[in-house]
Amino acid sequence: MKAWREPGFLVAAPVMLFLLIGFAGPLLMVFGYSFMPPRTFSLAQVPTLANFVSVITDSFYISFLWSVGLASVTVALLLLICYPIAYGMAKLFGKWANLVTVLIAIPLLVSENIRLFGWVLVLLKGGILDGTVKMLFGTGLPSLLYTVPSIVFGLVYVYLPFMLFPLVIGLSLVPDSLKEAAYDLGASRLEVFREVELPLAMPGILIGCMLTFILALGSLAESKILGGQVIIMIADDIESAFTYAQDWPKGSVLSVMLILFSGGLVYYLFRRVDLDRLIRRG
């Protein structure tokens, strides 16, 4: 049978066509604009590398480094927070695991803006946390909003499910019998964790880390709502280049940096992970 007449190819065609128009097209556009002279609004110009140079000379890389830094801290914290829960969901909770899944998924269906605004109300001076501390101890807290830690806090909060669910899938790939066998052969708990559990759960761990890292890297709302511009993250810079500054080529070049960096990570990830095996388990 010819490849294009296979039923799989036929049912894949509409989605592929849609993504070609809706995803590949816009991305090529961004790549194209990144080579256009600064402050121009069409692709019909002589290509130039001026924008790539200006990333270095005008220190736009600073917001990029902030984003990488904050995303790394977020991933590390999420891994520590989610690992025990994922372990519980995969191995201990039994039929309760479904309820836990639902309870953790429901907040995803509420707009990120509203949830971040809820944290503003908690962290605000005179807000819920400050007010409670004042009632209990008589003195309030300094303002917790608009600081770098409050941005990390927001990132950890918003992206928690994106770390947790892949970890659950990863950990459920570890057969209990294998761990028991290792214990029977005299391995310590640390050894079982390091030699059996960790390597077998690695696809899930990798997906969780990459997903949360990339999402945090490109995040916009957390630094705006909770951070109040205390630092500028890369998505902020990209947005203002396209809107206030009206410099599409500059916005494009920053986007290209973000895309290439994230793209490299995803490429590495997809090479190491068998999607069929993971999703079927999930």
């Binding site: 592929m16 995803f23 556009m29 707009s111 803006n113 944290w119 109300l121 990339i214 895309i259």
Partner: protein, 276 residues
Amino acid sequence: MPGARFGLVRRLIVIWTVAVIAFLYIPMVSVVLASFAKKRYFSFPVKAWDTRWYEKVFNSLSVRELVVTSLDVAVLVTVFSVILAFLGALAFARYDWKGRKLYQKIVLLPIFFPQAVLGLALLLWFSALGITTSWQTAVFAHMVWIVPIVTLIISIQVYGFDPALEEAARDLGASRWQVLREITLPILSPGLISGSVFAFLLSWGNFPLSLFSTGADQTVPEWLYAKMVMGYTPMVPTLGSLTMGGAVIVVLAVYVAFLLRRWRHNRAMAGVAFDD
């Protein structure tokens, strides 16, 4: 015996899980709290309660317009996404074909993509094609992100689907259309329903894609954001609470529908057993 030592660890994990779940709901509770506060600027503890902001929201024409725009977008996104994703999921998980591994990776790419950048890229794309952005372009923009997610959700259902059922129906003389209507769709319906719920609510709550793709139109999350940053009004927590309430109703309705379905299914099965 390792089992005995796990008792304490097990208890700690349970406590930790409950604490983290509670943590996830704190901001939503505080939004609801603020929506009933009388004072214009929120402070805690709340001294006086009031529902006048709810009256204002219900009577506001501009809010009505926002809700209608958001609903229009979410409904269209749901319909188109589920149709595309249904086919996409069959290609993802049902058929074994040459380009499948590559296809799976391409389909998942938009999920791994920063939404704000995707929104801006789409803005460039629309302007290059000479399309003026409005709520219709927002439908398209949402779909770029939501179709892959729904494809993934339906695929999980498709993996558990036994293709032999389709073949058996074909062997018994069913047409392709009958097989689709009588076998494939009913079996995959839980996946299609959860896919629809996700599509609807993710579109309803989306901010980064709407921000760049709605043009002069405005959705509820965009309005909430604009008011948070500038010109705060207590209608922000109020409308926020109402949106959350709406989401809860949708999720509960679907859950009840699932229970009813299972109950009817069980009864039908019991009936069959009885007839035998």
